[in-house]
């Protein structure tokens, strides 16, 4: 291979020194081309890395581009990275994280009402981990603090934006489960099932 463009080479160099995903507009500014040109270059480079079976990939994550290791090689990388894999979240924390992710901006009482239990401790843990943060205050009475997910959350999931989360409707319990719950509570069909649409 030869005659690689200066643009491609500079892109590779900048991505190598970046510590977090670099937004296309910043890359465009640095390399003096349009953001759409950056997107095209990055897409081409990502395909080339895959074709060449590199040990790393160029990924679009949390609104920017970054170099990261190929998932196939996780066993080697895990051994090398001294921290080891991060502690996993408990079921309660995951559920809470899901509520914040899909309902944001959302207040603590709103989260608690979905789960039926006080969510304060779990939300502190999630904030401590950097997955959620305060994003504002409810304009209504009480002015409750509102929470949303962070950029780190997107980075950890390896997705570009919240739009990449599967729709919440795909997690609504299957009809048999709904029927079982209805039966359990004693009674026929109820209109409130439809209210879950969102």
């Amino acid at each position: 291979m030869s005659q690689r463009s200066e643009l491609t080479r500079a892109l590779e160099a900048v991505l190598l020194v970046a510590e977090e995903p670099v937004e296309p507009h910043l890359l465009a500014q640095l390399l003096e081309v349009s953001p759409s040109r950056i997107d095209d270059e990055c897409a081409a480079l990502a395909v080339a890395y895959e074709d060449e079976e590199r040990g790393f990939v160029l990924a679009r994550v949390a609104g920017g581009y970054r170099l990261q290791t190929h998932p196939d090689l996780a066993p080697y990388v895990e051994r090398f990275v001294l921290d080891g894999p991060p502690a996993r979240l408990s079921g309660a924390a995951l559920e809470t994280l899901a509520v914040v992710a899909y309902r944001q901006p959302v207040s603590r009482p709103q989260v608690a009402s979905v789960r039926g239990v006080n969510a304060d401790a779990v939300m502190r843990t999630l904030a401590h981990r950097g997955y959620i943060e305060e994003v504002g205050r409810d304009p209504g009475p009480g002015q409750a603090l509102l929470y949303g997910t962070t950029r780190l959350f997107l980075e950890k999931l390896g997705i570009d934006s919240l739009a990449d989360l599967p729709p919440l409707s795909s997690f609504v319990p299957a009809p048999e489960m709904v029927e079982a719950i209805e039966k359990a509570l004693g009674g026929g069909a109820s209109s409130s099932v439809d209210d879950l649409g969102r």
Partner: protein, 281 residues
Amino acid sequence: MVCACREWPAGIVEAVPYEVRTEVIGYGVFEGPFDLLLHLIARQEVDLYEVSLCAIVDAFLAELDRMGPLDLETATEFLVIAATLVELKTRRLLPETPGDGLDDDELALFEQRDLLLAQLLECKTFSQAGAHLARMLDDGARSAPRTAGPEAWFLALAPDLLAGVTPDDLARALVRAASPKPLPKVSIVHMTPIRISVGDALEELLGSLPAAGATTFRAVTEGMETRIDVVVRFLAVLELYKQGLVELDQGSTFGELRITWTGGDDVAERSRLAGADSYGA
């Protein structure tokens, strides 16, 4: 999905089939009333298609009883649900009132039931969404980003390398620096999806448990590095439990899972002989 068994090794809960779990996890590790209720309903569904409200209400109350002292707020949450359930149960036990009109009490009860149903479905939805997030986090963790930053000679250009660094960040960095490091050694076992079978794990347990008498799940999974090893070991423990060779219990809500050998010596001997060659027993 329903129980948050935080004291168990990472990831074990979602990896074990639900029906298997319900046998062991019956002792108050529920995160809230919706979790508990969903769990009880699911158990009914597993047992028989005909779901019995009465059985569920009784189980709910029994569970509440078994949980022991709760803080006021949590207790209230559980009691509100319990009250609704008891009302629904009473209603079911009473003979049908003649006439087609519903009185106000009945209407209110139906509203409560619908509300509870909606809450349960919502809780279930988010719990499934949470399980999916866990999978996405796992997938995401398989790729590590480049974070080395610019080479030292470029850093001379940066105005302040400690910008945004807090004393807490420093303390965390020290903990990272001084924490015992895992040995940097790649074993190829890691690359193969499942190498150790439940049979192997069973045999190993049969070799060590009778002599040990009582131990903990943490102890029998000590030194295991991959999730799948831990899961396989867990399934083996369940198998022993099903065969009545061990007793399982948890001292406290978030306590250790204790394993006690109850099979006697000859059973271990027979089972071991029946198996394949001994596996590090």
